[in-house]
């Protein structure tokens, strides 16, 4: 059974003004779709066609890994965003963030600094650590925490295609605005 592009959990204009409908047209409709299409081309007629996306990510490298991981990363990213997002986390997740970073503002500052410093194309993540805490990690290109046995809680895409139409070279501005969209319910669900 072929992999399919999962539905976007909101309309393409739902994240405006922080992320435009035009960006989502390309980012979801072209980039994410292209990763799905190329993944299917690569697995078609091979034993990988019967594997789950996660199984392929954990067992592959090179072009196949890139396509599979980018399919997974983008689906996860869409769910990290919501037109009703923003604000601050609560409960156990907020406690873990405060324990690690001191405060929510300090966490955001640290996360943004790492995302700005993620040179080239990649992703910045909040992950759950083995001791039940949280940490921030960068990955390059298609690389993803689930390939390293880590549990991702939140991600922000810092490939230029994620923000170039709306923010041009101003990655810090994109990062500043994207906090207005974070779906903390989804992040908390990943944490628990």
């Amino acid at each position: 059974m072929a992999f399919e592009l999962p539905a976007l959990p909101y309309e393409k204009n739902a994240l405006e003004p922080h992320i435009s409908a035009e960006t989502l047209d390309y980012h979801y409709g072209k980039h994410h779709q292209a990763y799905v299409t190329k993944l299917n081309e690569l697995v078609d007629g091979t034993p990988n066609a019967d594997k789950s996306l996660e199984e392929i990510i954990k067992s592959s490298s090179g072009g196949l890994f890139n396509q599979a991981a980018q399919v997974w990363n983008h689906t996860f990213y869409w769910h990290c965003l919501s037109p009703n997002g923003g604000g601050e986390p609560s409960g156990a997740l907020a406690d873990a963030i405060n324990a690690k970073f001191g405060s929510f503002d300090k966490f955001k500052e640290t996360f943004n600094a790492q995302a700005v410093g993620n040179f080239g194309s990649g992703w910045t993540w909040l992950i759950k650590t083995d001791d039940g805490g949280v940490d921030i990690v960068n990955t390059s290109n298609a690389d993803t925490p689930i390939a390293h046995g880590q549990t991702p809680l939140l991600t922000i895409d810092v490939w230029e295609h994620a923000y170039y139409i709306d923010y041009r070279n101003a990655r810090p501005k994109y990062l500043e605005n994207v906090w207005n969209l974070i779906n903390w319910d989804f992040v908390a669900q990943n944490f628990s």
Partner: protein
Amino acid sequence: MPHTLPELPYGYDALEPHIDALTMEIHHSRHHQTYVNNLNAALEGTGLEEVPVDELIANLDRVPEAKRQAIINNGGGHSNHSKFWQMMSPTGGGKPQGKVADAIDSELGGFEAFQEAFTKAALGRFGSGWAWLSVTPEKKLVVENTLNQDSPLMHGNTPVLGLDVWEHAYYLKYQNKRPDYVQAFYNVINWDDVERRYQDAVS
């Protein structure tokens, strides 16, 4: 004297319609400028402030380890972009002539085979990076690609033609269609500049 942003050898709109004026302006005045600024910041206090950028990135063992990645990223960015602007021209395109044309024929199987290999290198660079036509230490032409702002100079090759395939190089005009951008690039290649670089590299 700190590194400075070189002037573009033509106007921002000179490469239209293949590369649009807005892309050129942001690419040169913001992206390239940022590499220059960050390079100068990374070099501060290293004693390497006066070393020409190509010499700097070809000799990274001279760079303190704590500064090395920042100098690869930003020194590479400055070096690559400085060359890239010169490697294009509003009167460019067509086919190479002279010694580099002869070498493309004899070492790479001809102009069409070169184009095929170069396009493949540009499209096959996943994420951000560059496609290159370079001269090896044995004075042979090779088509290669590099990640992010890595330069062929870092592994001993001399770039004679380069194509920026970071999304910022083409996203405003071509969006996800990198193949269309790569195809358009062939219309603006400054083969005179490539020939000059080739002759320098093999002499």
